[in-house]
């Protein structure tokens, strides 16, 4: 699996856009909206490689923060200019409101691409990049408010270990969110989806990334991944409560959610 992502890192984003015809961006947006983070949230994004979730989280929190500040200013209409200036100063350096995201990935190349992207897009504060294994996270217990893993959990050898680790590093009250390819129950759609996956995706991999094999592996690993209910059961086994899932695009993708209470 490591070699697959080493080869794939640089062309990862281009391939995602071509394979999903850009829809993956919508899926990731939906994930962050579902998360609905407020400023001050500490997020751990596992297998976050090129930073897609991290950047969306930062954008979301920034806009929430903006609205917070605007509301505060509106309520301070009868303050003196001095007081307004002081409060503005205090908040200016806090555009994220102390929110932070830690991007953790097992693959150095993916992290490298992510860091470059962050620089290129102008994301600097509130971001850290850590090399680590989802089955054995380099973090203390009860640290994070939210744990996300987007399109990463199917590449983990021991999913149960990753879920246990997720439980461990989350604070009580913390939320687990998983975005992953899942099973399509509709038979017609399933056949079309299979046709597209097996016939088109490896070809795209060869033409765009010069790598048929990695994308053949990708398509196969999706088929082998546990379906929605099974994954839900696994998440419950790790100790999470209120576990639920939401199908996107008829089950091509599903978001599973659980809470540590």
């Amino acid at each position: 699996v490591y070699q697959v992502f080493e080869n794939v890192a640089k062309k990862y984003d281009v391939m995602n856009d071509s394979m999903t015809l850009g829809i993956h961006r919508v899926w990731k947006d939906i994930l962050v909206h579902k998360m609905n983070p407020c400023p001050g949230t500490l997020l751990l994004d596992v297998a976050g490689g090129t930073g897609d979730i991290a950047f969306r989280f930062i954008n979301y929190v920034r806009s929430v923060r903006q609205r917070q500040l605007q509301r505060k200013l509106k309520n301070h209409q009868n303050l003196s200019w001095q007081e307004i200036f002081e409060s503005y100063q205090k908040d200016k350096f806090n555009s994220l409101g102390d929110s932070q995201v830690v991007v953790c990935d097992i693959n150095r190349e993916m992290l490298k691409v992510g860091k470059q992207k962050a620089q290129h897009l102008g994301y600097s504060e509130g971001l850290s990049w850590v090399l680590g294994n989802a089955e054995e996270l380099p973090f203390d217990d009860d640290k994070f408010d939210v744990y996300t893993i987007a399109f990463g959990i199917r590449n983990v050898t021991r999913i149960d270990l990753a879920l246990q680790e997720a439980y461990r590093v989350l604070k009580p009250g913390g939320r687990f969110l998983c975005l992953e390819f899942s099973h399509v129950s509709n038979p017609l759609l399933s056949r079309l989806y299979d046709l597209y996956s097996f016939q088109v995706i490896p070809v795209l991999g060869e033409v765009i990334a010069g790598d048929w094999r990695s994308y053949q592996y990708l398509v196969e690993s999706i088929r082998q991944f546990p379906p929605q209910e099974e994954l839900k059961a696994m998440i419950e086994d790790a100790g999470f409560f209120k576990v639920d899932y939401e199908n996107l695009n008829f089950g091509i993708v599903a978001i599973h959610s659980g809470f540590k209470l």
Partner: protein, 251 residues
């Protein structure tokens, strides 16, 4: 049909020596590196690689893939031409490969000027190329045809030497015209037709008026270039080989 999902580790290698087909990576390979593809996949690959090769000329792997996916009608003809010629037949039997590890560079360099070996080495040095950069075939679904296309790729540099063309865009287009006439491979035809798009008008003029007519005439006149056992002819003077094949002297 579509490729079957593998239920073993994607990179598992079980050594099944002695069998014609090997199941490695979850599909049946006819030769190492083989990726079996459905007709739909081949069609998509052909289209995709054509677009990508034009979009990014440095993607030599795309040119190779285009050749493999479009060559299925032509490769059997080439193979038959080789089979029906005594030297070609021997090549098919012995399957020689042109690679740095198999070539004795020191000996070739020591050969007299004008000999095939000396000129070939000079060509490699002048243009800073190596015979080891040729891609092995992946999408040809016949093991012997895979060798034929591999031979064609490895012999390409020798074509440059015989035609006296360098590896710049102009030289490559001329060689493509020659190869298109000689082999009939659709990839050569496409390359010959579309390659000139990237040339300046001055070069296009030279190409159209002198080089292409010569390349075409030579290609039509010459016997099949794949039927020459080059590895046994290093001492032969280039001039003599040209005459033997029927290639007219370059302008």
């Amino acid at each position: 049909g579509r490729a079957r999902p593998s239920h073993s580790e994607p990179r598992g290698r079980d050594g099944r020596g002695g069998e014609e087909e090997e199941e490695v990576e979850g599909w049946f390979q006819l030769y190492p590196g083989h990726i079996p593809t459905s007709p739909l996949q081949k069609a998509l690959l052909a289209a995709g690689s054509a677009v990508m090769a034009l979009y990014d000329p440095y993607r030599h792997d795309m040119v190779a893939v285009l050749g493999e996916t479009t060559g299925c009608l032509v490769l059997p003809n080439l193979r038959d031409k080789m089979k029906n010629h005594p030297e070609g037949y021997r090549i098919l039997q012995e399957r020689p490969r042109i690679r740095l590890s198999t070539l004795d560079m020191a000996r070739l360099q020591g050969l007299p000027d004008g000999s095939l070996g000396r000129e070939y080495v000079r060509f490699l040095e002048d243009n800073k190329v190596s015979p080891d950069t040729r891609m092995p075939p992946k999408f040809v679904d016949d093991e012997e045809l895979a060798y034929v296309i591999q031979r064609y790729r490895e012999v390409h540099d020798l074509m440059h030497t015989l035609l006296g063309m360098p590896t710049n865009m102009l030289g490559e287009v001329v060689v493509k015209w020659f190869e298109a006439v000689q082999t009939g491979l659709p990839m050569c035809v496409l390359g010959a037709a579309l390659g000139p798009v990237r040339l300046s008008t001055r070069k296009l003029q030279v190409l159209a008026t002198e080089l292409v007519p010569w390349a075409v005439r030579s290609g039509l006149n010459a016997s099949c270039v794949l039927n020459i056992y080059y590895e046994q002819r290093w001492e032969q003077p280039v001039e003599s080989l040209r005459e033997e094949l029927g290639i007219f002297p370059p302008p």
